[in-house]
């Protein structure tokens, strides 16, 4: 029993906590994510009807599960109104549950963990588009409502609703089995899961001051999903790496925007504003990845770089030699021109502007960077440090002409003007 001021709020809270496990266990039984979600939703409706009068049961998760299972048995008995495929599924379930009995409280922790992991891999299945994976993951594993997801991604509700409906249909049509991939298969499919979580995180991280609060809430949800996943697959360094990366990046959120809403670069941030609780958690997550003693993938390497910054109490204490080495490793496992450019900056900080410029100059022929203002701005910076003011000025002006951000353009033009004075 509970005496809360807001029983709808209490039921919603229970739903957020219980629904991933509930839907996961139901999916194992009925082998269809869409049907599992419907059954769970029916149980929620029943709870909303009953709990305000009866009070919240002591084990609300078990109550919801029992209610959903009864609903499934009901549907199996009245099967006529169902489509053929569902009818057959539900009948199977009915038989299975008759064998199971109604022993819903005895579900083992291992079993629940497997179900949850199975649901994560289903929501992030390669048969789905990236947008569909994200929507389905937030809906089924984050317990977020369709309107909440729509608000977070700044798209109409109907768009998200459609994505979710289509995703469930695609999974059913492709007959995607509900299972936890093992061994090599797990290794192969894990990156897709990590990518979904990191995209959700970045969507929230890109939010600006005036945005709806649901957008930054995406960061928290991605972090939470990452932590859950790290508990489910504790032997995978990349999972801990992703968690570490997100914890450390999230720790900088209070310092990365200035009073006028302008972005504050990492080395200019007031480190006292960093969230040191999250920094500590990030460093611990990175240690977990290290202790597994396997080669680091892109997330763990990026986390290790972020950790070098986090460990420096003042910017001048940054271990640039280590960062340069980590960028070199990153350019091996996930080569990209942007990584190369970052490596050039790190090398210039560690070994001087000439060494950095040499690396940056190699990128001049890179087609994907030909319109990239940061290449020009980095080269301008390095040239200025080497007392080549005229060339530096040209680079800053070029960078200013390439950026689409007005504030950044202003800053670059000021730097160009400084070159004349230098």
């Amino acid at each position: 029993m509970t005496a809360s001021s807001d029983s709808r709020g209490a039921v919603d809270a229970i739903w957020r906590i219980e629904s991933p496990r509930l839907i996961a266990s139901l999916t194992r039984l009925v082998r269809d994510v869409g049907l599992a979600q419907d059954l769970a939703q029916d149980a929620l409706v029943a709870a909303l009807e009953r709990w305000p009068e009866s009070g919240v049961p002591d084990n609300p998760g078990a109550w919801l599960m029992a209610t959903a299972k009864n609903r499934a048995i009901d549907l199996a008995r009245r099967g006529k109104r169902l489509e053929d495929k569902q009818q057959q599924l539900v009948r199977d379930v009915g038989i299975q549950m008759a064998v199971d009995g109604a022993d819903v409280e005895a579900a083992l922790d291992d079993e629940i963990a497997d179900d949850l992991l199975g649901l994560i891999f289903t929501c992030c299945h390669p048969v789905l588009s990236m947008q569909a994976r994200i929507a389905l993951t937030l809906r089924l594993l984050g317990g977020l409502s369709t309107p909440e997801i729509a608000r977070a991604f700044l798209v109409p509700e109907s768009t998200i609703a459609q994505r979710i409906v289509r995703a469930k249909r695609t999974l059913a049509e492709a007959d995607v089995p509900f299972e936890v991939p093992s061994g090599d298969e797990l290794q192969a499919r894990l990156p897709a899961v990590l990518e979904v979580i990191y995209l959700v995180f970045n969507e929230g991280y890109a939010a600006t001051a005036g945005d709806d609060w649901m957008r930054p809430a995406l960061c928290e949800e991605a972090l939470r999903l990452g932590r859950v996943l790290a508990g489910l697959v504790p032997k995978e360094p990349e999972v801990h790496g992703l968690v570490a990366l997100m914890e450390i990046q999230a720790s900088r959120a209070p310092a990365r925007v200035g009073p006028a809403g302008e972005p504050v670069l990492l080395l200019d941030q007031d480190r006292a504003r960093w969230d040191w609780l999250l920094v500590g958690r990030g460093l611990i997550a990175l240690e977990r990845a290290e202790r597994l003693e396997r080669p680091f993938g892109p997330y763990a390497l990026q986390a290790a770089i972020a950790a070098c910054h986090a460990r420096a109490r003042r910017p001048e204490q940054t271990d640039w030699v280590k960062i340069a080495a980590l960028y070199e490793a990153l350019s091996q496992v996930a080569p990209s021109p942007v990584v190369e450019l970052n490596r050039a900056v790190a090398v210039s900080m560690a070994f001087g502007p000439a060494a950095g410029l040499e690396l940056a100059d190699r990128l001049l022929d890179e087609p994907s960077l030909s319109g990239y203002h940061l290449l020009s701005s980095v080269r301008g910076d390095l040239l200025l440090k080497l007392d080549r003011a005229q060339e530096a000025r040209a680079e800053f002006e070029r960078a200013a002409s390439l950026t689409e951000n007005a504030r950044e353009r202003q800053l670059l033009l000021e730097r160009a003007a400084e070159c004349v004075r230098a």
């Binding site: 509970t2 809360s4 807001d6 709020g9 209490a10 919603d12 809270a13 229970i14 957020r16 906590i17 919240v56 963990a113 001051a209 809430a217 928290e220 949800e221 972090l223 939470r224 999903l225 990452g226 932590r227 859950v228 508990g231 209070p254 009073p259 007031d270 480190r271 006292a272 504003r273 960093w274 040191w276 609780l277 999250l278 920094v279 500590g280 958690r281 460093l283 611990i284 460990r311 109490r313 003042r314």
Partner: protein
């Protein structure tokens, strides 16, 4: 959103108290649930007030009283810091805590810098250097 849950055990704070294995086991299981759900950020259990002190200011005088505190009816025994989507969710987690008779948990939301007006945010910017003890 970040919340703190403060546990006020329903025991006489002036009396000696030892944790028993069963209660600790139940609490560990609860903490594990918070971890598995991805919501737990930090937690600590506090030594009894006998080991603590109270520092109070009155006028220009600062007085220090060593524990136990005769006047104290409720004493914090520990806390959790959790990250959840709403106050209702924090309350639901508190409800699930294996409490003993008379135990009470207070749920409080943590201030975030963005909750303050700009002048307060500026005033909070006292140091460019983070505090040593928290820089893990």
């Amino acid at each position: 959103m970040r919340f703190m849950m403060f546990m006020y055990p329903g025991i006489d704070p002036t009396e000696d108290w030892e944790p028993d294995a069963e209660a600790v086991g139940a609490m560990s299981k609860y903490n594990e649930e918070l971890t598995q759900a991805g919501v737990l950020l930090a937690l600590d259990g506090l030594q009894p007030p006998q080991e603590g002190a109270r520092v109070r200011r009155s006028g220009s005088e600062v007085t220090v009283t060593d524990g136990p505190f005769a006047e104290a009816k409720e004493v914090v025994g520990g806390y959790w810091t959790i990250q959840v989507g709403s106050k209702a969710e924090a309350v639901e987690w508190a409800r699930r805590c294996p409490m003993n008779e008379g135990d009470m948990i207070e749920v409080r939301r943590v201030y975030e810098m963005s909750d303050f007006p700009e002048d307060v945010q500026q005033a909070a910017e006292l140091s460019q250097t983070p505090p040593e003890q928290t820089s893990a």
